[in-house]
Each structure stands twice: as C-alpha cells, then as structure tokens.
Symmetry: C2
Subunit: 346 residues, 2 copies
DNA sequence: ACCCTTTGCACAATCGATTGTGCAAAGGGT
DNA sequence: ACCCTTTGCACAATCGATTGTGCAAAGGGT
C-alpha cells in the first residue's frame, strides 16, 4: 500500500548486494552465513536510509508464521471484556504478536463464523471467551493443533486450556456474607445457564446453602443472560413473586445494574429493604446510592495469564502443563448488605 | 498452521483442473474467463469437500490488499473506547475487513511504534483516537496515501478526516444548566490540555461564561489527564483553594469518578454542597448516590461513522467529501445539579 | 472442405520475502 | 608453486495464491 514502500530489493540494490545477503544481514544472520561485517553494515545503513520495513505479509507466507493472535469476546463494550482485550493486546504486542479482535455478540453462530475468518487469516493462536454453550467447534481447533486458551468461560471436562476466576469459591464467599448477616431468602440473578461461570457460581451457592442448612429453592434463581435487561426482569419477577426476599446476589455487573433499576422502580431501598451483592467490582461501585459489596475478579490477571499461556506456547512449542488455571477472587465489602441479626436485637 | 490445511493445489488436483481454473471458479470469475459451468461445479464441489479456505496471506501478497484495518485507542479498557472498538470491529467484519487492535496507553511514543507495526502488516486503513498532542506522524500516513480517520480526538486545521462529538456545543449546554441554576463559581476538571476534546470543551465553557457575563478564571481549571487520579487531584485542589466553589464540570467519566472520591473525602454532599455535571453517560450514572447529570456522547454513532468512512473510502477509492464530522450530543439531566436560586428564595 | 471465430482451459510470471546450496576468490600450509 | 580450506557472497527455489496470455479443439459460415 502506502505507495512507494521500499522493498528488500531496493535495499539490496542500494547496498550493492544480493537479496539473500540483504535478507541475512537484516535478520541478524550475518555471522551464521559469513557476511563480512563491512557488507553487513552497508546493508543496515541502506535499510535505515530507505526506512525499510519488511512486508510481514511476504514474511508470513514464506516462514508460515503470521505472528497473529485471534481474540474473540462476546461483548467488547463490556468493561470486563474490554479489560481482557487490553491485557491480551498489550502482552501480545510486547512479544511480537499482533491481535485480531472480533466480537461474537454472545452468539455461537457468529462465533463460528469469526473463528473461520480468523483461521483464513492464519492466526497462530486463539484467546476466546466463548459464548459457552457449545465447544465442539473449539475442540476442532485444538485437534487441528491451533493453540486455544479459554478465558472467563470454560467447559467442564474439556481438553482446552482455560483461565477463569474461582467462580465456586467466589460465590460461596458472597453467600456466606449474606447468610452471616441473617439473610435466608436470597434471590439469585443468574446469567446464561449452562455456561461455566454461571453454573459453577450456582453450585457454589448451593454448597454454601446446604452447609448452613438453608433450603435451596430453584424458583429463587432467575435470569438467562449476563445483561442489564435480564437482571432487570429477573429482579422484578422475584420482587413480585417472593415477598419475603431480603437479598439479591447478581452474577454480573450488568445484571446488577438491571436489578438496581427494578429495585428502584419497586420503591425499595438498598440495603434497608433489600440487600445486594454483585459480581464484578467497578470504580463506580463505591459511589452508588448504596455503595455496593462486590466480588472483584482479578481481570488483569485473567487477561495477562491467558495471553501469557498462549504466547509462551507459541514461543516454546510446548503446551502448558496445567489445563485449568484459577485466579483468586476478592470480596469488597461495602454498604449494600444489611445486617438482619443486629436489627432484630435492637 | 493448523497442520494439513488444504491448499488451492489440492482442490485443483481433486477437480482435475489447473490452478488458474480452480482459482477462477472459486472467485466467481467463471463466466468472465469462460470456464464451463460443468468444470466450475467440479471445482466448487472439490473445494467444499476438502473444506478449502484460501490463504489470506497468499492472497494479500498477490493482490496487494490485506483487508486489514488498524484500530489504535489510548485505553481499550475505558468503556468509551471499548464501545468504539466494538462498533468498528463489527462494521468492519460485516464488510470483509478484519481489525488489528492496539492500545497506545495515552503515549504518543507507543502510538508511533504501534502505527509502524501496523504499517508493516500492511493495513489498508487506520481508525485512531490519537493521544492528540502530535499529529505529524499521522499526517505522514495521509501523505503516504494510507486512509486515516480520527475518532473522538481531532486536530485543529488538520488535513485528516475526523469524527467527533460537538464538544463545544456540548460543553456550552452543560455550563448553561449550571449557570441557570445559579452557579457562578464552577470548577472545571479538565483532561489533557492541547487535545481537541479538552480545548474545544474549554472554549465552549468560556463562550458560555462570557455570554452570561461571568468572569472566566483560569485557576478554576485543573487537571491534566482524562483519568480518575487526575480528576481526584484536581477536585481536591479546587475544594481547598476555592472555598466558594459550588459546582464541578468533569470533562470525562473517569475524571468524574475521581472527583466523586475527592468530594466524599472532603465530607461534601452532592448536590446540596456541590453540584456536578460529567461528560459521558453510563448505565450506572442513574444509580449513583446522587444520580448524575451527564453529557451523553453518541458513542455508537461515533464508532460506526468512523468505520463507515474508512471502509467506504477503501471500497470506492474516493476520499470522503467532508473532513470534519460532528455527532450531536445529548444532555441527560438527573439530580446532581442543585438550584441555588430556588434555595435563596426559600 | 476450408477458414475463421469462439470455447475452454493450461502455462508461467508474479507479489516480497527466506533459505539451501554452489562457487569463485582469498588465505594458509608445505 | 601447488593444493586444500575458509571466506564471502550470489543463484534459484519456495511459500500460496492471482492473472495475462497463448493455444488446441470445437463450432459455424460459405
């Protein structure tokens, strides 16, 4: 493109050497191929003067390495995934890889198409937060020897490498706080059923309830997307149907926002009328009408680790030893959980 | 990569035709090159059976078209830029282009390097939110005939195409609301001085103050980054130095978050003690301790329009007629602005 | 029957790099 | 002086597609 881009040929001519010599001098193989240091310098000078940058396209074709990573996320505009995109791109860039970004819009169909396109571009590896309901197309990549790292969403019993938060422990921790504060009727605002973040959180919730002897009612679980509208509908429904409800546990930030809307519309106040804990911490969590108690995932670490796993694999050619990578989670307690026990004492 | 990827050669052999015939049949040039429909079908069938996807790398080299767009943003994890990334990638994808994403971390130096790398990958066009203090390296692209579209941040008197909000009008509108509510001592929490979003907002602010006869004090303008910490420091400083201050205008969402922090630490309440308007609306703006009055930029439109301008230019080969594209802005009034006039009457 | 046009495809060059190999010139040993 | 090794580079093939051109076979007109 860029019109008169200088090619290796021009450098070679300017230096008065052959293409092969120019190529070798420029790629640091002068000693290995016995290019005299004088000739080497001629080439380097010519390249510098002509502002030569080798065509990565041509290099890719010849060396069969594109130095390209695919990153597929269900919603790049979601700050959670945006942070992952950022970590992966900067880590990749630092290691000589570039990132092709694609947004699957939470659709497995779109996800398949995007992956096909990325393969046509001969990406060397894929970092993906899959929609999460199907993994066959991803396993196919794995068997085709294309390194894949799942981030945020994994699959049970998968041959694929994954980096996720410890959803189960995180959910247990949040439930523990609610229960310790005397809550028994807790509405669970879930995301996409069948995805591991959702289901593992649910099973953590169930475990914690069982352990403390509180009955686990499936009708207290509502919602079907990690979205604001799903959170809104689910919370609205639960507020109507379960009059005794005293707390919500929202399984994502977006869901939480929707719940906030529903709670406000119902004329309830957090935390006096209804307590709440939300997955995903944010800068604004602290400044909400009631500062929100949140489960803070270590997003940077999730992104960086995923990038590292794929890049190291490409650089060394060795698959990571560990398949499942769990990143610890932190619970930030603020003011959105009301203590029912204290209030009874008073 | 992917091990035994089928190449055009294999398709040609399977169909019993030459490479050229296979290529032409697959790229829809059968009639133009008088391939019989029987032969065409043989090729198509073979390609389908072998799951042939042409190497984009080889195609790119031969056709000198990579179908690659570069997108460079100062901070992908910022929801504002993340939304732009999303709009551009999906629009590009729909039109056969893929997006190489890079994050300049608000550094012109990094920005330069990233652009050099993107050029080595032979991107056909660049969508960039530049750091905004230097444009020489961007003009160079323009003169090298690489289509560039600036988004969010432009340059005064630039030959480059840009898509931005109407910063001036937006800022005037916000100031007008504050002034109409009786505010005269208004702290401006600015971003990076010298960038067009910042400076045009400032000049909008100045215009509005002048028009209403309120003195414009430069010491009321503080801050130097579009970041939370800059907003925090600036607000903290102003609260200390200007005891008569009654309102803040924060020139970005992140700045606003920092200001919230400083205001809380100073023990002041919004809006009673201090009013506030923030640039950039967000889902949570409504649920803050005091629901925030915000200037809502049409981010989707900014991103989509930028993508459209670059893609259409590539598709048609014609430069857009208009250089400067301004997208209207909307002000969402909530509860963070206190009416000083009413309170005096009472 | 002959010639000219059309049909239907294959050959070979090409994009811009990398890399295995070959060969002349220089150097070194006796 | 002669031969062998080392030095220093160039030639040409190659990655996987696209595309200009040439040519044999078929068809059509008189």
């Amino acid at each position: 493109m860029t019109h008169a881009a200088t090619k290796l040929k021009h450098v070679a001519e300017a230096a008065g050497v052959s293409l092969s010599t120019a190529s070798r001098a420029l790629s640091g193989k002068a000693v290995a191929y016995r290019i005299s240091s004088h000739t080497e310098q001629l080439v380097l000078d010519a390249a510098a003067k002509l502002d030569f940058r080798p065509s990565q396209v041509a290099q890719s074709l010849r060396t069969q390495k594109t130095k390209l990573l695919g990153v597929v996320l269900p919603d790049v505009s979601n700050p959670f995934f945006a942070s992952i995109a950022r970590e992966v791109t900067t880590y990749a860039e630092e290691n000589g890889y570039s990132v092709l970004l694609a947004d699957s819009r939470e659709s497995t169909e779109v996800e398949r198409k995007l992956i096909a396109q990325l393969r046509a571009r001969e990406i060397e590896g894929l970092v993906i937060s899959p929609v999460g309901l199907h993994q066959q197309h991803l396993e196919k990549l794995h068997t085709a020897n294309l390194p894949v790292v799942l981030v945020d969403r994994g699959f049970a019993e998968s041959p694929l490498v994954s980096v996720t938060s410890n959803h189960r422990e995180a959910a247990r921790g949040a439930m523990k706080i609610l229960i310790e504060n005397g809550h028994q009727e807790i509405g669970i605002l879930q995301g996409i059923p069948g995805t591991t973040p959702n289901d593992e959180r649910l099973s953590g919730i169930e475990e914690e309830l069982k352990e403390t002897g509180i009955p686990f009612t499936s009708s207290m679980i509502q919602g079907n997307q990690f979205s604001e509208s799903s959170g809104y509908e689910a919370a609205k429904f639960l507020l109507k149907k379960h009059l005794g409800i005293t707390a919500f546990f929202a399984l994502s930030n977006q869901i939480g926002l929707g719940a906030l809307q529903a709670i406000a519309e119902a004329g309830r106040k957090i935390p006096q009328d209804i307590s709440m804990i939300t997955f995903d911490d944010h800068p604004y969590s602290e400044f909400l009408a009631s500062p929100m108690t949140t489960v803070r995932q270590n997003i940077k670490e999730l992104g960086r680790l995923a990038a590292e796993l794929i890049v190291k694999q490409l650089l060394t050619g060795r698959k990571p030893k560990k398949k499942v990578h769990q990143v610890p989670v932190e619970i930030i307690e603020r003011a959105s959980v009301f203590n029912l026990l204290n209030s009874e004492k008073e």
